[in-house]
Symmetry: C2
Subunit: 404 residues, 2 copies
């Protein structure tokens, strides 16, 4: 594949935060009606001014700066003391042991971990099972490394108690030769959590076919009432065949520090470190110190954060479901809603741009997450409650205006 082809497939025009680079001149001809005034809400990512970073995060960063060289220059995989502390907490959280010395790596965001994990497992021509819909980078990473994507359907509208993964398709993918499976749990964009039964079956199938699994559990702490969660790494899977990825960018609002962590199979973590040495060297040394707040938040802080997100989730679902033809699953975890819109008189991409220009509402187009979800949009509802409710009302108004 030529570099030109390769990079033309790596489009970021519709990626979160990139709207400012779009040319929107040609949309004027399609527009109906006037501006629907309201405060800008950018649902493409969480609002860290509404849900602020973990208490003491900045103080720990400042301590890191004061520590100087020891904190600035760590091993490429991250400061060993910080990784040790994390390994204990993450083992307790996920329910299976972690090799702190050889089985952990700190990365610049979970994006960094995902990149390194895919690079360490997918060679040119390798088949990789990818869920549709799922986080857009999964597909792009497989394409970048010239792997072959084998799609597996997620029927996330079927039930609110499981993810809806088509396990028959997953086994077909493995039978066809997929050697790597990348998926997010809770699913990004749908907020679907994989049931205990689904996770057990994924573990069994991975074992049966010798598949390496990259489990992106970025949102696995933000779980709503009765939100059972099963960690794949503690479900009987071969520990040498799984990498789990987490990070404090979302629920904990620490995205500005760019921190992620991957843990699991030492051989793969070793590869990831070697690659990180030529990709970015290490997660920013001073930022690493902030990870000391993680899983050590003040008593009750996380519960309160979850409670507030659940209120917003329910507010927005009520507004969306009151509109004719808008369908939405109740997410059991995370801060994404992924409503499916009714048929519109304009294309899905134009709708998203017009929504921004006419209603001051930014959402991420569903087409980013897979080929079958172009009629959906993703909203990160980690926002100011009142502003988010008003913005979703404007979204509904724009839907009405452009209804087919």
């Amino acid at each position: 594949m030529s570099l030109q082809d390769k990079f033309s497939r790596l489009g970021t025009d519709n990626a979160p935060g990139q709207e400012v680079r779009q040319n929107t001149g040609e949309l004027r001809d399609l527009m109906r009606g006037n501006i629907v005034a309201g405060k800008l809400v950018d649902f493409s990512h969480g609002d860290v001014d509404a849900f602020t970073p973990t208490p003491r995060s900045f103080e720990l960063f400042a301590d890191g700066v004061r520590r100087g060289g020891r904190q600035a220059y760590t091993e490429y995989r991250g400061a060993s003391a910080i990784r040790e502390g994390l390994a204990d907490k993450l083992a307790a959280f996920t329910g299976a042991p972690i090799d702190a010395v050889n089985g952990t790596i700190l990365t610049p965001g979970t994006q960094g971990a995902l990149f390194l994990a895919v690079a360490s497992t997918v060679a040119r021509g390798d088949k990789v099972a990818i869920v549709q819909p799922d986080y857009f980078a999964n597909r792009k990473l497989v394409e970048f490394f010239e792997g072959e994507m084998v799609p597996v359907r997620l029927d996330y509208m079927k039930s609110d108690r499981e993810s809806g993964l088509d396990l028959g398709q997953l086994e077909d993918a493995f039978r066809q030769g997929a050697r790597v499976f990348v998926f997010s749990n809770p699913n990004n964009p749908a907020g679907a959590v994989y049931s205990k039964n689904e996770i057990r079956q994924i573990a069994d199938l991975a074992g049966k076919y010798g598949v390496t699994v990259i489990a992106d559990q970025l949102y696995s702490r933000l779980r709503y009432a009765d939100g059972a969660y099963t960690h794949l790494r503690a479900s009987g899977i071969d520990p040498g065949n799984i990498i789990t990825i987490m990070g404090p960018s979302k629920t904990e609002s620490l995205s500005g520090y760019r921190l992620g962590v991957a843990f699991g199979a030492p051989e793969l973590i070793g590869r990831m470190e070697k690659l990180q040495a030529i990709v970015s060297l290490r997660a920013a040394g001073y930022s690493q110190a902030v990870l000391q707040t993680w899983f050590s938040e003040p008593e009750g802080w996380m519960d309160e954060r979850i409670r507030l997100h659940q209120i917003i989730r329910d507010d927005l679902l009520k507004v969306l479901r009151a509109a004719k033809g808008i369908e939405a699953r109740t997410p059991q975890a995370g801060s994404y809603l992924f409503p499916r819109l009714p048929d519109l008189a304009i294309g899905a991409a134009d709708f998203v741009r017009i929504l921004r220009l006419q209603a001051n509402v930014i959402v991420t187009p569903g087409s980013e997450f897979g080929p079958h979800s172009a009629n959906s949009v993703r909203l990160n509802f980690s926002q100011d409650r009142a502003a988010a409710v008003a913005a979703v009302k404007r979204l509904v108004e724009i839907v009405e205006r452009y209804r087919a």
Copy 2:
């Protein structure tokens, strides 16, 4: 190439800062004599406790945190206001205009920029001209992307007034089909600065053969007395065929924030941003704010920093040159010394490990930088002056002890 082969070539055992992961048990049999006591000096990187970060860097970071979401979530290529400010300063410094909107990208360190630049220009099987010796990641990046390295010799011992690049070999490389040339100026590890004549010839050859050049100018601000410096991007090269990389991690001691910048050809910068979106998303948002200190340091601050480094450089050169058989070039810029050691009774890799164990001195083995410099070691002399002088005296003592 299998992933196993690929990653086995990406060794980091001897990379700076990775010493803690080495198994050194088998060295005991080789050792002669006792410990030479002295304070640990880690010459594998600069000591940011001896030369502290730019004034106001932390305050600007803190302002970034206070700014909240706007600073945490920037475009993938970095906050536009910060890139605009930088473009003006970097254009003034390098002597050629910069397209702030489309021709700049902020990255997690210059390592991040180098990775993205090579990924954006080198496809599988592409020939890439690489200087020997040069920064070790250049070679590793070409190998990772399965390009074919065409080596070009740098005879850095020949003169202190030019780099000693073999321009005949460079043209041969281009004639053989190399379409990309990656090099550092000043050279890492030798501290050699390319003369005006050399840079002009590189520009001419790149134009003649349509070669894209990635110029790593990380150390181009730390120039000693009479240190003339010629910027390739202002030397008649096609602006569409050059990416220049700089960053504040070294001279300015801001490595703990992980910041770099690449500027030049908009098409290539566009590719780099697309790739960054799946590699690390962006340079840490809050860290980006620190770049406002860059090229805006207090009056006289940089001059004083250069003056102090020159004193240490000259101190260390005096100690090294007093030892029989140690040769060293005077670096015109940067903070690296790359002395060539006499023949020893132990292998070069063992010498480096023994030096650490017996003398508390960490250096980077010359073999990291190319196949012809195994008898050299690299020292980053951005250190406490007295500690560095004492450490180099211990290095000389260990050389004497193991002389062949």
